[in-house]
Amino acid sequence: MVTTSEARVEARFEELSNKRPFWEVAHEFVRKQPLGSAGLAIVALMIFAAVFAPILTPYDPELNSFEHMLTPPNLEFLLGTDQFGRDLLSRIIYGARTALFVGFTAAFIGSTLGLVLGVASAFFGGKFDLIFQRIMDILMSFPLIILALAVVAIFGTGIQNVIIAITIPFIPRCARVVRSSALAIREIPYIDAARANGFSNARIIMRHMVPNVMAPYLIMITAFVGQAILLEASLSYLGLGVQEPIPAWGLMLQGGAEEYAESAPWVAIWPGVAISLAVFGFNLFGDAVRDTLDPKLRSQ
């Protein structure tokens, strides 16, 4: 009996550890998640642009040139120039750096804090959970942008403060989702086993509960990156985010949209396209990640 079951397990083990060639896995992902793959392609393009910005850009993104103010797109300036004669293509490529940096940092820190707080809230339960959840309710009753504006108003502008401002509204959103998964996990006997063994609360939370709520956590991160990029652009557009002359898409919109919407529409169009495309890409990719990790949500 032991030998047959062992053999079966052995076979399954082989099957699991058998690495398939990369292109085969990739092909399957594309076939199963065509939209997700498109999103992944956009995300990959953005990351590529951000990493290789100095090589890809034809001009210095912060270089003013009064000879070339508001040049329409041509062969010399592929996307045209803005009111200071700065090359829009270069600024958009460098803008990807800002967007990704702010987006990833805010989404990662916000989700991770939400993860730990959400799991802790579920684990301790009782009064702590009740009070903590009411605080989260208060934070969540503000729309994302309002809360971010309030935080910027307190801390001031600048890239670090923008990250903090975007991180804070993400914490309750992630904590809420993670808590609901963690509540289910708290009742599973392996947590009882850990408690019966006298493991510390920190050990139970970090070693036994957190690894088992990774799926909602990863889903939240990917969903948040797109939102964070949008939020950063909004704050910058309102003049409360990243400051000139750092190339940021929201800032480029602000500079171009109002005065030159009719005379030089390219100044506002390209950053707008970049923001939409980035958010669209991350959302598609996030949905695909969710479908892959959480079969319960999968719509057939």
Binding site: V9, N197, R203, N212
Partner: protein
């Protein structure tokens, strides 16, 4: 009274003999039981030292209403004042139907639930009064094996880590290498290949996982193990293997078990003494053979009578003594003897007076005023 009881007594005798036949089913190891039983009888006098002493244990769970300001409207009396003790080296079986409080009793001893009242004295220390820090050294000595082998192992941890983690926390082995070696040793003791330590739980079968659960319980060299329905979730052939493993481990490491189960044939095979629970109360407690051969409480008799006989021709002719009615709600248990609404021998007295849990002959305790 004696004439009234003579009939059930005769029935009792025939009923009690029959379950003995179930032990010779092919699923069990054929040669072993006789030898084991002989060893058990011979070993009986050595259980003299009390290890666990449970006195007046009550566990009432509050039933609340209202989301924001919860208000207690009632209590589920899961365990309602039970007394028993477990001797060093013995195996005490705890049986009863679903919801009778046997698992809750185990959880109270483990301090996974804080008992409402009562004392749990373990080797001189009252667990019910210890705080978390004081409890920790005792947790090493009391271990648990859970019912469901699928949910009792963390799916994100490798088998090796699952087994070494308690050793790390309780610091029973000096270093990582020693812990690894001990994990390999334990896997072998539990009938698994040491190379399983690099696998994840989902790569194993139910029986193999339960062996991992046993290895985890043994890792910190405990003296007392609570087996909470440890074999109920396994299929019959694996059940027999795991029971034999538990038996061998008991003899090898001189373990004491509290064996919570509902399968009576398993209990008879493994236990020295058996306690029967009904609706949070203990109704009968006796030596294993005494309880199975000579059950006194009407509930125990019905419970034993419900065990099917693995011979269709006898089973078809047999007259079942089925207890009438449903198990009452533990929120509002019947007054007097909790069993009286379903009891075949109940008299008016039973509705008013709570029967005393008394010793009717040495070592045989019954909570029934009509016996």
């Amino acid at each position: 009274m004696s004439t009234a009881r003579s009939k059930p007594a005769a029935k009792r005798k025939s009923a009690a003999r029959k379950p003995a036949g179930t032990r010779k089913t092919p699923a069990k190891r054929s040669a072993a039981p006789k030898r084991r039983q002989a060893a058990r009888v011979a070993a009986k006098p050595k259980f003299t030292e009390t290890l666990v002493n449970v006195r007046g244990l009550k566990m009432h769970f509050p039933v609340t209403e209202g989301a924001m300001i919860p208000k207690v409207v009632a209590h589920v009396k899961a365990v309602d004042g039970i007394n028993f003790d477990i001797m060093k080296g013995e195996t005490l079986g705890l049986v009863g139907e679903s919801g009778c409080g046997k698992t809750t009793t185990g959880r109270c001893i483990l301090q996974l639930e804080r008992a409402t009242s009562g004392d749990i004295i373990y080797d001189g220390q009252n667990l019910a009064q210890l705080n978390k820090k004081e409890m920790r050294p005792l947790r090493q000595r009391i271990q648990v094996i859970f019912q469901d082998p699928y949910s009792s192992l963390n799916p994100r941890m490798k088998i090796g880590d699952i087994i070494t983690e308690p050793m790390k926390v309780h610091n029973t082995e000096p270093n990582e290498t020693a812990r690894r070696n001990r994990a390999h040793e334990l896997l072998e003791v539990c009938g698994l290949n040491p190379k399983f330590s690099d696998r994840y739980p989902h790569e194993m079968s139910g029986g193999q996982r339960q062996r991992v659960g046993i290895a985890r319980a043994l890792s910190v060299k405990p003296e007392f193990i609570i087996c909470d329905e440890a074999v109920s979730a396994l299929d019959v052939s694996i059940q027999a293997q795991v029971i034999n493993l538990l038996e061998d481990l008991r003899d090898e490491f001189n373990l004491t078990y509290l064996f919570i189960a509902h399968d009576l044939s398993v209990v008879r095979h493994l236990c020295h003494r058996v306690a029967v629970m009904y609706l949070g109360k203990m109704v009968e407690l006796a030596d294993c053979d005494e309880l199975f051969d000579n059950p006194q409480h009407p509930y125990t008799q019905a419970l034993l009578n419900a065990v099917p006989i693995p011979d269709p021709s006898i089973e078809a002719k047999r007259k079942h003594q089925i207890i009438k009615g449903e198990i009452p709600s533990p929120i509002n248990p019947p007054p007097g003897c909790v069993f009286h609404p379903r009891c075949p021998i109940a008299v008016d007295e039973c509705k008013k007076n709570v029967p005393e849990f008394r010793e009717i002959r040495p070592g045989h305790w019954v909570a029934c005023s009509e016996i």
